[in-house]
Symmetry: C2
Subunit: 204 residues, 2 copies
Amino acid sequence: MLLPSSLLQNAVDSFTQLPGIGKKTALRLVLHLLKQDKANVEHFAETIAKMRTEIVFCSRCHNISDANICNTCSNSMRNQHLICVVENIRDVIAIENTQQFNGVYHVLGGIISPLDGIGPNDLQIESLINRVKKEEVHELIFALNPNIQGDTTIYYIQKKLTGLDCKVTTIARGIAFGGELEFADEMTLAKSLTNRLPVQQYVK
Amino acid sequence: MLLPSSLLQNAVDSFTQLPGIGKKTALRLVLHLLKQDKANVEHFAETIAKMRTEIVFCSRCHNISDANICNTCSNSMRNQHLICVVENIRDVIAIENTQQFNGVYHVLGGIISPLDGIGPNDLQIESLINRVKKEEVHELIFALNPNIQGDTTIYYIQKKLTGLDCKVTTIARGIAFGGELEFADEMTLAKSLTNRLPVQQYVK
């Protein structure tokens, strides 16, 4: 695509580096910005640069934060003895949006995946073990994606926790709400039968 | 959506102001930028701010430009006596991409649309008339969208040009390549019959 200005071309090229944005979409975004006030566009650019340069990660749970300790970790209304272990920040946001979890988090920053060259030392596993040792942790809930990498990570961490007095659980696998039995894969259906619940508990 | 940091929240809010970008896409873009080098993200932000503050419009054709006179207008290889009149910058880019037009442009900046409160004085019509008066213009090609507003604009400008020695044409309407006759609207089909071409001219 030939553009009439190198400034325009550079801006379009910048946008196309973002995931899921092609040349036509990038041009649409840039022409939209071109119609806005200069002050607005400068504010837009500043916000993005500021976000990248000033954002910090919580030194305790490694979640995104505005300060050294994040809002969740410093909130005395939350159960600080219940830790939910997740792969990344997006998972924290997804769980927070359910508004059903009142504990705190631990963001691993990935999962063990030898094929991608990610080993235990690339993740925040050591700091999780230290938290369990130093803090009074009652329960560790693993909320990792249900695949080989996720299971490997759970297995690895559980071995590291041997001898420490801490309950370890994982989120339930089963048929999703709105899902249909006949289209469920065998493994999920089998697990949901094995881990069946008393009806009283289900409707609670 | 609850986000763990106000910096993140501000960046996501900035992206959602762009057309076609919702909260989930905005979060995906922001988390992508968060994974990039600080220098990269600062460059991204600078490019956008610079584009908005430094871009200028060609004083002759009102197209986007890096200088007072755009590359097309200052290009002696192009036919400076053939002006294609378009609604906006996007139309210039579309026509340039065909690589079939060797003249210059005149960007009106919109079309006459009383319902949207856009009159002739909001557009670059006066400067087009002045160009025809001062420059040696052989032909004016209207490449406006085929609707009432486009036709009104052509009619208005043509009246203003009365008495000036300049050929005025409009791009051909007809069945698009790949289009099927049976699905074409009556008006297009009727026009394409009226304005039929000798086969020699068509296959040229």
